[in-house]
């Protein structure tokens, strides 16, 4: 019995994930408002009503994708540190960040498009993101402090803005020369 329940739960989690992936792809492709529940369920190969066995609403589905995806992608980034981050470690961190972007374009398109959508109640998702992001942010601030920068917080905000700008241009511009830009960033800022 317990076995069965476990199996059932795994299957449920599996289906949930399947829906989220299909939804993420369709949201990123057509935009949140233009993409319909039908689009998603067709893409996932399931019945329309099934989404509502796993999520409260279209909005809930989308917010959970954004929050859980953020947790997944950014959650592990603060890993290593013994307290002091070296230049080498920071470069690896940035490298990893870029890799996460390059291999999850759909997610990041959705992420940014949602952040820029004025409707949509982002309170809850923001809270999750904030919680995940705070330690990462702090880690970079620490690094800048260890480099004896004058105004480490401002520097990190600037740094984050730069990354946002690069990522956005990369995500929405097919010809964006990401590798070249990465080189310039590395030699200029690291």
């Amino acid at each position: 019995m317990r076995q069965n329940k476990k199996v059932g739960e795994d299957a449920k989690a599996q289906k949930r994930k399947q829906i989220m992936i299909a939804a993420m792809e369709m949201f990123a492709q057509k935009g949140y408002h233009t993409c319909t529940i039908s689009d998603i369920t067709k893409h996932a190969g399931i019945a329309k009503g099934l989404v509502y066995n796993y999520f409260d609403s279209k909005e809930d589905l989308m917010l959970k994708i954004v929050a859980e995806g953020f947790t997944l992608l950014i959650g592990g980034l603060d890993a290593n540190s013994d307290g002091i981050i070296t230049k080498e470690e920071f470069k690896n961190f940035v490298d990893l960040l870029f890799k996460k972007v390059e291999s999850n374009k759909y997610y990041w398109r959705l992420y940014y498009s949602i952040l820029l959508q004025p409707d949509i109640d982002k309170e809850k998702v923001f809270k999750t993101i904030e919680e995940i992001y705070q330690p990462v942010f702090q880690m970079v601030v620490d690094y800048y402090q260890s480099q004896n920068k004058e105004n480490p917080v401002a520097e990190v905000v600037l740094w984050q803005s730069l990354l946002d700008g690069i990522v956005l241009n990369y995500l929405y511009n097919e010809n964006y020369p990401l590798d070249e830009i990465k080189q310039v960033v590395y030699q200029k800022f690291i």
Copy 2:
């Protein structure tokens, strides 16, 4: 008669502008898809149908706001130059850019949200934007070349990404320390 016709045309242009401003504000506030024609016309104090005397469709209205706004805001930026841009002139140019963003938040929110919307046929609006933007881009490339930078185009792309990132964070984050960031940008990059 000619007088009358002229007056009528002026009034029409006036009304057209009134609709565009109301639409821009509502689009920026509620997002393109969530904002209804009713929202716009109520905000403008006119009847629902009137929009369609001036624009073909909701989408047409939005694209014209984006295109004409871009022309207005970016169109005049290549002004001055006697061929060689000095550091001083470049700083003024960046200053002006920031000012245009700070005093047209609604417009820029709409602008970025549209660029990141995967639905919406952006072909035409892109063509307009490209035409306007190209000389400005070239001007900055020229400046970088005059500074003997190694890879001026990559540098400008990076520079533009940085600005995009800063502007986006400023537009959607109430507490973004724009002035502080501007200072850091000036001392680091100019």
Copy 3:
């Protein structure tokens, strides 16, 4: 002064007719409901509001076209008779009828399409048509009676149905062999 008034009235009648002709053509071309007041006024080369200086409404305009057109086209048909109609006169009458159809296709298309439109209050227009049609109908009944037909009314109703059917097929079927059919009608029924 009287002169002016007269001229003014003539001009008015002229404009009224101009509107009716434009309307008839557009109604016949696009159908009553699909054809807009704008279509009509553009076709007539006048301002949209002007229609309402001459007619109460779109429906009024259409009904007046149908009624006055019927009067014009059918009104004169009972002309000649000295009481007794000869075979020759009857053939001329039918000939004339066909000619009126062939040279006023637009009108007859409108006429039939309106008769078959279940919405539209046809009461008034029917009264006019009835008044005009009655003597013509009677004339044909008289002719049939003079031919010692058994049931002249039924014969005329049948005859009229036949003409309706021929005209309708001719109006809406480009390849309808009207001339051939006319020959068959003449040799079979007259």
Copy 4:
């Protein structure tokens, strides 16, 4: 499972038919353009949106009613023949035709009103009708030929025009003496 699917499909076909019948009645009563989707769904006792689960658009719904109705009503008429049609068989054929008209007034009103509507893309429906009608037409031509008529095609065209005229007058004129007319037709033409 297969059972269920079958049942579901039967139910779907049933509902589709229910919508078509309701629509036919309302179209015939109010006219295609005046009749709204709301009229139809209220009359059918279903929700407004449901029509669009079964038909692409209001126009699609109407065209399918016309085409499928024609197939149903005229499709079976070429039945019997062993090659030679007797006078008796021909009379039965005409009888049947009249019966089909008398017991499907709604359909035929819709049919004629659509044929006379200049807007509406009739291409597809015409193709269907043509395919169904052609063998019936041919059958009558054959009959006329067997009667050694001089110009059988013209005779059939005339005959068809006569029927159209009779049917139309019957459909739109409450006092049309159909039975009397039928008698005259039989004794005159058969």
